[in-house]
Symmetry: C2
Subunit: 114 residues, 2 copies
Protein backbone atom coordinates (compact mmCIF):
# COMPACT_ATOMS: atom_id res chain seq x y z
CA UNK A 1 0.00 0.00 0.00
CA UNK A 2 2.82 2.30 0.87
CA UNK A 3 4.89 0.85 -1.95
CA UNK A 4 2.06 1.83 -4.27
CA UNK A 5 2.24 5.45 -3.15
CA UNK A 6 5.97 5.39 -3.73
CA UNK A 7 5.55 3.96 -7.24
CA UNK A 8 3.11 6.72 -8.08
CA UNK A 9 5.59 9.28 -6.85
CA UNK A 10 8.28 7.69 -9.05
CA UNK A 11 6.12 8.10 -12.14
CA UNK A 12 5.56 11.72 -11.21
CA UNK A 13 9.30 12.24 -10.90
CA UNK A 14 9.74 11.03 -14.46
CA UNK A 15 7.54 13.82 -15.81
CA UNK A 16 9.64 16.27 -17.73
CA UNK A 17 12.73 14.17 -17.13
CA UNK A 18 12.05 11.88 -20.08
CA UNK A 19 12.25 14.76 -22.57
CA UNK A 20 15.74 15.38 -21.26
CA UNK A 21 16.65 11.72 -21.77
CA UNK A 22 15.40 11.63 -25.35
CA UNK A 23 17.20 14.83 -26.26
CA UNK A 24 20.42 13.77 -24.55
CA UNK A 25 20.50 10.58 -26.61
CA UNK A 26 19.70 12.38 -29.85
CA UNK A 27 22.51 14.85 -29.27
CA UNK A 28 24.96 11.96 -29.03
CA UNK A 29 23.59 9.61 -31.67
CA UNK A 30 22.34 12.30 -34.07
CA UNK A 31 19.32 10.12 -34.90
CA UNK A 32 17.24 7.32 -33.42
CA UNK A 33 13.75 5.80 -33.32
CA UNK A 34 11.28 4.75 -30.66
CA UNK A 35 12.09 1.12 -30.25
CA UNK A 36 15.83 1.76 -30.13
CA UNK A 37 15.35 4.53 -27.57
CA UNK A 38 13.42 2.12 -25.37
CA UNK A 39 16.37 -0.28 -25.42
CA UNK A 40 18.90 2.45 -24.75
CA UNK A 41 16.85 3.72 -21.81
CA UNK A 42 16.52 0.21 -20.46
CA UNK A 43 20.30 -0.23 -20.47
CA UNK A 44 20.61 3.07 -18.62
CA UNK A 45 18.18 1.84 -15.97
CA UNK A 46 15.20 3.85 -17.20
CA UNK A 47 12.29 1.51 -17.78
CA UNK A 48 9.46 3.27 -19.54
CA UNK A 49 6.38 2.06 -21.30
CA UNK A 50 5.79 2.17 -25.04
CA UNK A 51 2.59 4.05 -24.31
CA UNK A 52 4.73 6.69 -22.63
CA UNK A 53 7.47 7.05 -25.23
CA UNK A 54 5.56 7.18 -28.50
CA UNK A 55 3.18 9.95 -27.46
CA UNK A 56 6.17 11.74 -25.92
CA UNK A 57 8.09 11.67 -29.20
CA UNK A 58 5.00 12.89 -31.00
CA UNK A 59 4.60 15.80 -28.58
CA UNK A 60 8.24 16.78 -28.88
CA UNK A 61 7.90 16.71 -32.66
CA UNK A 62 4.84 18.93 -32.49
CA UNK A 63 6.75 21.31 -30.19
CA UNK A 64 9.32 21.65 -32.95
CA UNK A 65 12.05 20.19 -30.76
CA UNK A 66 12.55 17.19 -33.05
CA UNK A 67 12.68 16.60 -36.78
CA UNK A 68 11.36 13.30 -38.07
CA UNK A 69 11.27 11.04 -41.12
CA UNK A 70 10.31 7.47 -41.97
CA UNK A 71 12.94 5.00 -43.10
CA UNK A 72 12.63 1.44 -44.35
CA UNK A 73 15.68 -0.69 -43.47
CA UNK A 74 17.59 -1.69 -46.64
CA UNK A 75 17.95 -5.27 -45.39
CA UNK A 76 14.18 -5.55 -44.83
CA UNK A 77 12.35 -5.05 -41.60
CA UNK A 78 9.61 -2.90 -40.18
CA UNK A 79 9.61 0.77 -41.21
CA UNK A 80 11.01 3.06 -38.52
CA UNK A 81 10.20 6.63 -37.66
CA UNK A 82 13.51 8.34 -37.01
CA UNK A 83 13.91 11.49 -34.91
CA UNK A 84 16.64 14.09 -34.78
CA UNK A 85 17.14 17.24 -32.69
CA UNK A 86 15.93 20.32 -34.57
CA UNK A 87 17.83 23.59 -34.27
CA UNK A 88 15.21 24.76 -31.81
CA UNK A 89 15.60 21.48 -29.92
CA UNK A 90 19.34 21.99 -29.64
CA UNK A 91 18.84 25.42 -28.10
CA UNK A 92 16.04 24.17 -25.88
CA UNK A 93 18.12 21.25 -24.61
CA UNK A 94 20.75 23.62 -23.26
CA UNK A 95 18.12 25.53 -21.32
CA UNK A 96 16.56 22.33 -20.07
CA UNK A 97 19.82 20.85 -18.84
CA UNK A 98 20.41 24.13 -17.12
CA UNK A 99 17.05 24.02 -15.38
CA UNK A 100 17.70 20.44 -14.35
CA UNK A 101 21.03 21.34 -12.83
CA UNK A 102 19.46 24.31 -11.08
CA UNK A 103 17.07 21.84 -9.46
CA UNK A 104 19.98 19.78 -8.25
CA UNK A 105 21.73 22.82 -6.84
CA UNK A 106 18.58 23.97 -5.06
CA UNK A 107 18.10 20.56 -3.49
CA UNK A 108 21.70 20.50 -2.31
CA UNK A 109 21.26 23.94 -0.80
CA UNK A 110 18.11 22.84 1.00
CA UNK A 111 19.92 19.82 2.38
CA UNK A 112 22.81 21.87 3.71
CA UNK A 113 21.59 24.61 6.01
CA UNK A 114 17.90 25.37 5.44
Amino acid sequence: MNAEVYQKWLSQLRKGFLELCVMAVLRQKHSSYGFELLQIFNKAGITINEGTLYPLLNRMFKNGWLDSNWEVPVDGGHPRRFYRLSNLGKKQLIEMLDAHQQHNLSLEQLQECA
Copy 2:
Protein backbone atom coordinates in the same frame (compact mmCIF):
# COMPACT_ATOMS: atom_id res chain seq x y z
CA MET B 1 4.67 30.70 -27.90
CA ASN B 2 7.73 28.54 -27.60
CA ALA B 3 8.51 30.06 -24.21
CA GLU B 4 5.05 28.92 -23.13
CA VAL B 5 5.81 25.32 -24.06
CA TYR B 6 9.02 25.56 -22.11
CA GLN B 7 7.24 26.93 -19.04
CA LYS B 8 4.80 24.04 -19.16
CA TRP B 9 7.69 21.63 -19.32
CA LEU B 10 9.26 23.32 -16.31
CA SER B 11 6.12 22.79 -14.23
CA GLN B 12 6.12 19.14 -15.26
CA LEU B 13 9.73 18.83 -14.18
CA ARG B 14 8.73 20.01 -10.71
CA LYS B 15 6.36 17.08 -10.25
CA GLY B 16 7.73 14.72 -7.67
CA PHE B 17 10.71 16.98 -7.09
CA LEU B 18 8.85 19.21 -4.64
CA GLU B 19 8.25 16.34 -2.20
CA LEU B 20 12.01 15.93 -2.11
CA CYS B 21 12.45 19.62 -1.35
CA VAL B 22 9.94 19.62 1.49
CA MET B 23 11.42 16.53 3.08
CA ALA B 24 14.99 17.76 2.68
CA VAL B 25 14.12 20.93 4.59
CA LEU B 26 12.23 19.06 7.30
CA ARG B 27 15.18 16.75 7.86
CA GLN B 28 17.38 19.78 8.51
CA LYS B 29 15.00 22.01 10.39
CA HIS B 30 13.06 19.28 12.18
CA SER B 31 9.84 21.24 11.78
CA SER B 32 8.35 23.95 9.58
CA TYR B 33 5.07 25.29 8.17
CA GLY B 34 3.73 26.23 4.77
CA PHE B 35 4.45 29.90 4.63
CA GLU B 36 7.98 29.45 5.93
CA LEU B 37 8.65 26.68 3.42
CA LEU B 38 7.56 29.01 0.63
CA GLN B 39 10.13 31.55 1.76
CA ILE B 40 12.89 28.98 2.13
CA PHE B 41 12.16 27.64 -1.34
CA ASN B 42 12.19 31.11 -2.79
CA LYS B 43 15.64 31.76 -1.36
CA ALA B 44 16.82 28.51 -2.89
CA GLY B 45 15.52 29.60 -6.30
CA ILE B 46 12.41 27.42 -6.25
CA THR B 47 9.39 29.61 -6.90
CA ILE B 48 6.18 27.71 -6.31
CA ASN B 49 2.61 28.76 -5.80
CA GLU B 50 0.68 28.54 -2.55
CA GLY B 51 -1.91 26.52 -4.45
CA THR B 52 0.84 24.02 -5.16
CA LEU B 53 2.44 23.78 -1.73
CA TYR B 54 -0.54 23.53 0.62
CA PRO B 55 -2.22 20.66 -1.22
CA LEU B 56 1.22 19.03 -1.50
CA LEU B 57 1.72 19.16 2.27
CA ASN B 58 -1.75 17.77 2.76
CA ARG B 59 -1.06 14.85 0.43
CA MET B 60 2.24 14.07 2.11
CA PHE B 61 0.49 14.09 5.46
CA LYS B 62 -2.17 11.70 4.15
CA ASN B 63 0.60 9.45 2.79
CA GLY B 64 1.94 9.22 6.32
CA TRP B 65 5.23 10.84 5.31
CA LEU B 66 4.65 13.85 7.57
CA ASP B 67 3.32 14.40 11.07
CA SER B 68 1.44 17.62 11.74
CA ASN B 69 0.08 19.85 14.49
CA TRP B 70 -1.32 23.34 14.88
CA GLU B 71 0.56 25.92 16.91
CA VAL B 72 -0.40 29.44 17.93
CA PRO B 73 2.64 31.76 18.21
CA VAL B 74 3.18 32.84 21.84
CA ASP B 75 3.77 36.45 20.76
CA GLY B 76 0.50 36.51 18.86
CA GLY B 77 0.07 35.95 15.18
CA HIS B 78 -1.82 33.68 12.85
CA PRO B 79 -2.02 29.98 13.88
CA ARG B 80 0.40 27.81 11.94
CA ARG B 81 0.17 24.22 10.87
CA PHE B 82 3.58 22.68 11.52
CA TYR B 83 4.91 19.59 9.76
CA ARG B 84 7.62 17.12 10.70
CA LEU B 85 9.05 14.03 9.00
CA SER B 86 7.37 10.90 10.31
CA ASN B 87 9.40 7.74 10.81
CA LEU B 88 7.97 6.45 7.54
CA GLY B 89 8.87 9.75 5.92
CA LYS B 90 12.47 9.44 7.06
CA LYS B 91 12.79 6.00 5.49
CA GLN B 92 10.97 7.12 2.37
CA LEU B 93 13.22 10.15 1.93
CA ILE B 94 16.29 7.93 1.71
CA GLU B 95 14.67 5.88 -1.06
CA MET B 96 13.55 9.02 -2.82
CA LEU B 97 16.95 10.68 -2.76
CA ASP B 98 18.32 7.44 -4.10
CA ALA B 99 15.84 7.40 -6.97
CA HIS B 100 16.66 11.03 -7.72
CA GLN B 101 20.35 10.31 -7.86
CA GLN B 102 19.73 7.29 -10.06
CA HIS B 103 17.97 9.62 -12.48
CA ASN B 104 21.01 11.86 -12.53
CA LEU B 105 23.34 8.93 -13.14
CA SER B 106 21.14 7.65 -15.96
CA LEU B 107 21.10 11.04 -17.63
CA GLU B 108 24.88 11.32 -17.37
CA GLN B 109 25.24 7.88 -18.90
CA LEU B 110 22.95 8.85 -21.78
CA GLN B 111 24.96 11.98 -22.39
CA GLU B 112 28.27 10.12 -22.52
CA CYS B 113 28.14 7.36 -25.11
CA ALA B 114 24.55 6.37 -25.94
